[in-house]
Amino acid sequence: MSTLAASNKRSFWSVVWDYITTVDHKKIGVLYLIAGGFFFLLGGLEALAIRWQLVKPMNDFVSAGFYNELITMHGTTMIFLAAMPLIFAFMNAVIPLQIGARDVAFPFLNSLGLWLFVFGGIMLNVGWFTGGAADAGWTAYTPLSTISPGEGMDYYVIGLQISGAGTLMAGINFLVTIINMRAPGMTYMRLPLFTWTSFVASALILFAFPALTVGLFLMMFDRMFDSAFFDPAMGGNSIIWQHLFWIFGHPEVYILILPIFGVFSEVVSTFSRKRLFGYSAMVFATVLIAFLGFMVWAHHMFTVGMGAAANAIFAVATMTIAVPTGIKIFNWLFTMWRGSIQITTPMLYALGFIPTFTIGGMTGVMLAAATADYQYHDSYFVIAHFHYVIIGGTVFGLLAATHYWWPRMFNRMLDERLGKITFWIFFVGFHLTFMIQHFLGLWGMPRRYWVYLPDQGLDLGNAISTAGAFLMAIAVLILLYNIIKTAIKGEPCGDDPWDGRTLEWAVPIPAPHYNFKQVPLVRGLDPLWVEKMDGRKEMTPSEPLDDIHMPNNTVLPFVMTIGFFIAGFGFIYQKYDNALNALIFVGMGIALGAMLVRSLKDDLGYHIPKKELEKEARK
């Protein structure tokens, strides 16, 4: 791996220090990939434990309480600590390159966002070691979550609050980066689709996460400071949590899928050797999905008792989202139509994604029929639906992105043969696990139950589902083997290994830390392809060679995060002993102190002089 290999000569600790203090979006991308990948494996282990418990009726592999912790932590980990950070990994690694920028708009915030996510994730998992992790479901419905004993749900609240703050910063950073840092000629309607969809997803983050922030604050106050938001005995109302959670939660599912739509758009176009069909319709559909995504949250609450009128409105609003989604599906199909298709690993994932995701969308529309949802709700049918969209969409997309951008990030190609084997095992394992769950749901199996009775017609289906889960695990192991193998034995892949179309492939591999010696001039959609078609090998520069301005590394984001992390423990444990309030003051003191230093100490970055750049060019 280039970034790691290049630093082999330095001592281990100097490399660690470099990564802790880095503000380089490429390194931050690598860190997101490592941390997100770690949590993905952790969440996967939890999933295997869940499936093993359900492999046969009345199983006693885990206790009921532990089962609750497993399902809660599996969902929370996968959504907040695996899927989103892995998306951020590729956003960081690719977007500045795709828009011809040397950097992101807020390198400091970018680093802060990363560390907040990492330590928020650790916080969530500390619960395992202090008498039980969170156990009220990833949706943490009140009053179950507010009366759940122990500290598990406290860790949920504080952990998500910390990592959520990080996500918000990452979102703002990418919004401003994409608006302000584009190279000359990179107009909005020339943005690669991955950049476009990430841009819209960032806007969703900005407007959705604060609702979760507030929900978490209220839950924190109820649990730790005895307020009465969700306590009916004191006049509280537990439905407020559901609204706040889903006002965040539904946009969240589009945060998870929109950037992935972007990934597949790039992959399909690259490996069909055609420009994307219906580019502007794609952009329009993305924006429309985001817009509608804010108006449908109550489809998660059809059975709460909102009344027929509200249910009807939210049902219809929900169904309309299928329209822009359908537009996208057809655009991908038409992009492939008469293209010269290359079946590479990323392309395989794209081909697997289209039918899989379509099934997930179809069950979504079924669920959106409010009256029918009284039957489906809280059954395995819902579990099947959202795994079809989240695994069949987001995870397939992340795996495609991993294979597609791996050479961009690490100067190695992943082994294509192993990649294809991974795909097929994963694909088969996935459908084996989740197709049957639709039927288990319709046959009456509720979600989140620890055991089921024998001879209810659920035995075989569950056994099949568990078998599929282990196939997926095998696929992931092969992927890991592939990564290790190519890291040790692989050859450097050199520039532009896929014969790419977009700007990230115009940057040499490995990339210099300033990305572009001269910012390129963009002359059309798929700018690199435009140049290739004109017989050039490289981008035309938009400026003469000159000094390059870069930001300084800084340890402050890390320190700030440690501060919040310490304060978090104070908040959780102050109820036992007032003296523990000291932790809150120390932690917040560190965090606010670091903030003050950031505000007061001038940090103008540094310049790479022109002479040095010329010298490098001659080498």
Binding site: L175, I179, V214, L218, D222, S227, A228, H243
Partner: protein
């Protein structure tokens, strides 16, 4: 742009807060941040509206809230917004002394607001036993108004830090955006208060 151009610009541009790329990024990023803050307060308002009738046997808004004090608070905060506009006017004029002066007045008015708010909370707690824990209404009230108050405290600390930090040097292209977004933040706090005044207090007593 060299460091010299940023820290000691020979000629101050018309909009020093947006003269550098960093300044432009800060300006736009902060607007986005305020968008997120708007959703945060909207969620708090929604919660408050759902719970403001849940008295749990305690006194209602109508029985407790007195408009005169709240009116004074509103005036203090609105005026402080105005003074920060003057400050921004002098930022554009490159008149650093007056910029500092008006920012300081903003801080003083903000402190006045805060003092009133602390008195108000104290009054409710001691005279009515209306606390964060006494009812869902209490939780929602103190959380909404308290979040706003917390924003005021943060804003005051921030602006004070800027005033002190830059006292010995003049305006430049590096600190101009900092002043500018601090004043944006202050306006935002003011706008939120206008909503609190209307939704919590006016609608509470009328």
């Amino acid at each position: 742009m060299t460091e010299q151009d940023i820290m000691n610009p020979k000629k101050m541009p018309l909009q020093p807060e947006k003269a550098t790329l960093e300044g432009k990024n800060k300006f736009l990023g902060f607007w986005f941040f305020l968008g997120g803050e708007a959703v945060l307060f909207a969620s708090l308002f929604g919660t408050y509206l759902a719970l403001n009738g849940s008295l749990n046997g305690g006194k209602s808004a109508e029985e407790m809230f007195g408009l005169p004090l709240v009116f004074i608070m509103t005036m203090l905060l609105l005026t402080s917004s105005l003074t920060s506009v003057y400050a921004m006017h002098h930022l554009r004029n490159n008149d650093f002394k007056r910029l500092q002066l008006w920012m300081s007045i903003t801080v003083i008015l903000g402190l006045g607001f805060l003092a009133c708010e602390i008195y108000e909370f104290y009054h409710y707690i001691t005279d009515y036993g209306f606390t964060f824990r006494s009812s869902a209404f209490g939780s929602a009230f103190y959380t909404l108004v308290g979040f706003h108050g917390g924003h005021v405290v943060f804003g005051l600390a921030w602006i004070t830090a800027l005033i002190v930090r830059n006292a010995k040097r003049g305006l430049n292209l590096y600190n101009a955006p900092k002043y500018y977004i601090a004043s944006l933040y202050w306006h935002f706090i003011d706008v939120v208060w206008v909503f609190i005044f209307t939704v919590v207090y006016l609608m509470g007593v009328l």
